[in-house]
Symmetry: C3
Subunit: 492 residues, 3 copies
Amino acid sequence: MKNKSTNLRVRLPALIFALEVMIVVLYAFFVTYEDDANALLQNNQTKPMENSLYQNYPFFADIQVMIFLGFGCLLAFFRRYGFGGMVFNFLIATFTIQWAILVQGFFQFYYDGKIHLGVLNLINAEFACAVVLISFGAVLGKTSPVQLLIMALLEIPVFGITEWAVVKYLKINDAGGSILIHIFACYFGLGVTFVLYRPSLNEGHPKEGTSYQSDMLSVLGTLFLWVFWPSFNSALTFKGDDQHRAVLHTFIGLSASTITAFALSSMLSKNGKISMADVQNVTLAGGVTVGASVDMMISPVAAYVLGILGCIACMLGYKYLSPFLARRLRLQDQCGIHNLHGLTGLISSLAGICAILLATEETYGPSLYQTFSHRAPPEGDPLLARLQELIPDLEAGLGRTAQEQALFQVAAVFGTIAVAAVGGLLTGVVLKLPYLASPSDEKCFDDELFFNVPQDYNCVNGPQDVWSCVLRDTNKTDTDCSKKNTEHEYEE
Amino acid sequence: MKNKSTNLRVRLPALIFALEVMIVVLYAFFVTYEDDANALLQNNQTKPMENSLYQNYPFFADIQVMIFLGFGCLLAFFRRYGFGGMVFNFLIATFTIQWAILVQGFFQFYYDGKIHLGVLNLINAEFACAVVLISFGAVLGKTSPVQLLIMALLEIPVFGITEWAVVKYLKINDAGGSILIHIFACYFGLGVTFVLYRPSLNEGHPKEGTSYQSDMLSVLGTLFLWVFWPSFNSALTFKGDDQHRAVLHTFIGLSASTITAFALSSMLSKNGKISMADVQNVTLAGGVTVGASVDMMISPVAAYVLGILGCIACMLGYKYLSPFLARRLRLQDQCGIHNLHGLTGLISSLAGICAILLATEETYGPSLYQTFSHRAPPEGDPLLARLQELIPDLEAGLGRTAQEQALFQVAAVFGTIAVAAVGGLLTGVVLKLPYLASPSDEKCFDDELFFNVPQDYNCVNGPQDVWSCVLRDTNKTDTDCSKKNTEHEYEE
Amino acid sequence: MKNKSTNLRVRLPALIFALEVMIVVLYAFFVTYEDDANALLQNNQTKPMENSLYQNYPFFADIQVMIFLGFGCLLAFFRRYGFGGMVFNFLIATFTIQWAILVQGFFQFYYDGKIHLGVLNLINAEFACAVVLISFGAVLGKTSPVQLLIMALLEIPVFGITEWAVVKYLKINDAGGSILIHIFACYFGLGVTFVLYRPSLNEGHPKEGTSYQSDMLSVLGTLFLWVFWPSFNSALTFKGDDQHRAVLHTFIGLSASTITAFALSSMLSKNGKISMADVQNVTLAGGVTVGASVDMMISPVAAYVLGILGCIACMLGYKYLSPFLARRLRLQDQCGIHNLHGLTGLISSLAGICAILLATEETYGPSLYQTFSHRAPPEGDPLLARLQELIPDLEAGLGRTAQEQALFQVAAVFGTIAVAAVGGLLTGVVLKLPYLASPSDEKCFDDELFFNVPQDYNCVNGPQDVWSCVLRDTNKTDTDCSKKNTEHEYEE
């Protein structure tokens, strides 16, 4: 028989302290500073202002705002689950980053028996964190913090391995993370929510709505994400013109999807009114759709069109696909991550493949072999030497053709979907274990379950609340009325 | 007869899709990358970290926050029009930037048959965007999104031409945009609102007030603007000491106007209490007043005094001028842009002229001819060669005297006011056309007209709301009372 | 007899105008531009992009967000004192910075008869500002803006002298300001609140609670502080690897304290639920605890452990020490600054001392004498010349041993506590003077005292409010009921 208690008093501290012990031990044995953060390695050749910190920190800071403020506010859209959305986001994000530093560190920053830590690792860890937070969107309001921490604990290694395999073996172009971040996160989250299916939620839940204030706060989160998305998509490109294009494309794609979202929101609404849920989510579709080709010479108009296409797919997904998935395929996708990250991620991957197939030396010049680094001639090829005269920093590649690169991209998309979905399903099974404080159906989307709520919690959200609270907490109406009645009667 | 429907279902999508087709066509034919974003132009001389991206992007990111979060929150101050303020700001800003990239591009970044796009254009486009958003402040709550998009569509070309004429022919000093941004935006907005005059609004509107939460959110917007205003005022100055001074002056001016605003708010209030409207608006006056002379050697104390003067003018404007304008001159200026941008812009222009007249080589050294670049000797003048030895980057100028430069500044102020006001009036006439979904007087300042509002919309804003919602939505009180009564009666 | 009026109409403007006159006079006579902001000092050797602006401005902008948005939102946690928290923070911060520019300027940036102003001074002034805002936390809701301005007016010189003495004579290592900022601010604030003791507040105050919205807003403030804290702790370190480590340690320390805070919040709560007050405050403890050793080679795991220790101390302080201090020692510490800044500051100081004692050339290489600049050999020492070959920028030091440096750190801690506490006590005595508009006990934590509040102020905060407002403002219930009754009676 399953343990039904949702009391966190033992479960949450026990889990967190266990995780902390593990992290402390692993950090103690394996984590040291990267060269640019290591005092011992500075010498009379060191130019302090050329420290990698100054190239990476501004982008890191922007992504921090997206992770903690952007996601935090965006996920606070439920009228009675604002604490849960914003605060569990905070908890999961901080744990995930600590954990991703280790996992990604072992795969990507490990040599001489140590993980070498610098701000670059933190950027990578925040990307891993975005993955977990996107998946979180699928199960928002239906999971306890204990479950969420375990989800992060399991998702990060699956992501770390996938990322490592794709980067090291498939060697794809995906600067904005459309495949590795958005598609992975989406199908992992769908896997989890498939297992955590709750039939009763398909009937609609009384606490599932938004309130005026929660809608405003959620838009604020959208705006944080919107404003700093160019930093997200460009953080890991090559420096120089590649990064410059990534900023431009992301900005153009986002602004195209934003005005399209307003048009579609009004058009697809019976009364012609705009829905805040669309403003909160669909406006962002363009940021994902430009991702896989964000550093390429796709031209500004292509970024614009990608923004429109992503927005249309995302909007139609919310309108028609999500209800279908929930009713027929047991995929209850609370924030619609399949629309904002899945469909758009697929479009983005396809666009990336087209951009790869169309890329020529005529458009890129010798930079072609930098942006598409795996198309560069291999070590020893005389062409490489000739190219290196033109671009001194150019590294040897694999001599892939455009078609070969495109095939690897396709393999990466399908591979990522498969691994993510299976990983998500298995994680979902683990999350169904007893003792994880999973909320009952009635207590979903309800802050009262896990938080000490202030006294106005039952009053500020919607008419029923106001009334029930007036009745319950002051208990004046009936009394007064009946007293009056009584008095009148007495008078008679 | 006028079409009175305000249903957006056809109008808004039709307009947006038409605009998108136009933009896609123009982007396809005319927009390409600037050199620093063009892979083809990179070669073995290119130093990636010297890409202009790294000089411009940090300022661009700060201005993004101001446009989307700062303006967005600030304009959400009406208690029942928070969605409208924040979300229409989002819509207009994104469209305006797309459109300004084209319009400003044709005037400023067009060569070889193409507009060359980089982050610098985006900064310029965000300035154009600020212009439209300031004008929006004059008609906030009284206009449909269709009208607002058309306003942006018309305002940007008028602004683009004015900017081009002033920059190319009058060649003025206006680093912070006091003339081109604040004065232009103000008088354009006043022109529009003059034509859209609604006599009934002078009687006060039941939905015009703020709520506790909307006041807080609006202050948050003020703080975003306050914090990043130094980036706004310094984004387009010369690099180096000019930009350094621009940051210092803006910060000092703002902090002087902030504490002055608190003093005046309390002093001019009958009960000595501070008004949130003053905290939201008047505190920012100093950022505008230092604008025209922000990069000059005016001395820190002058920036401080300019902050105080701007604040006083702005405050007196809100207190005495705005009511007068609304009643006597048909100028219903919803956010008081004439106070925060018009009066302060005029003071700033005057201060700029004084700073120009007082500028000497004694104070500036040879940099005088860089900060005041039109005073540099013309091409061929031997003095130029001598100066270029001292400042290698110095470009040839027009050999203007201080007095000549001052006269051009005066011409720019009056020219800008005239063009803006006429442009605004004509735009206002267009906005009165039928089919633009203009809200009726009663539906002004009401989110319910254009948004699907959450169920608590009628309950959270003010006592009447709470009560009417208790009555309407639960309908328990009367029933209960009368039932009780009835029962009692039966018992009798 | 004491003047009991709290009307600000004369008091606040009079004080602010007096302060402004003083500042204008002092700025006019004493403040000029630093070299990098002075046009006169630019010449043909000047490289504009090497202006100090570009090294300092990004950190300055981040700290601006912390001061105005971070503190502003965090301090808005009382349900009826949101305006006060956020807006008085705005007022005090702006005044403090203006004032600190002068005071710190005289001590640190004064030569040739002038204070030389640049963005670096602004960063220093924002640190001084953080000191005042932390102290403000101890008396939040119990003080008028007049009192708060006077507190800032007095605290800044005491802080300026302490800072100058410690930096110039004791020469300590304290990159993150654990001693000078956090410990000073804490004990100064406790000194003030000791004198302003209000026995009646120990019984609990009806307006002291939070609301759902105020809790959310306050978490938003926490997130702003969290996200940019690495910039705060690293703003004044040496450039290069020192600053890199400072970013890493701050981030790790904060994320360790965050997950620990969730564990402890749930564990120490009777029902196992998480408290928002803990999320708002205790999560940040790690940022303080790593402060004093933030730029040293303490290793990532040490930063992690410091985060956990700081969090435990802070949490236990909130739970057990604060109530004790309030009841027994007259220390009513409204925001618990003694837990978040005092206890953690002490731990941080101790950790800094350990890090100093353990620092060896084996770990740091010759950089040892840069990070611990007072251990560098003195001028003339042949060792200095040898070290300068390895690190060209190395400056002569005092040749201190690790033990000597540790003793100076200890002296700094005790000296700072003593000066701060005495300064706070004396300031408290000044704040008790009449005519400073100190609120009565009942009017504490109430925005209505100093602000024109919107009409829903009495309605949105908690059940009693809703009800009392329904009754008071519409006065329909009773009337309706009794009318019904009456009618019924008539019918009978």
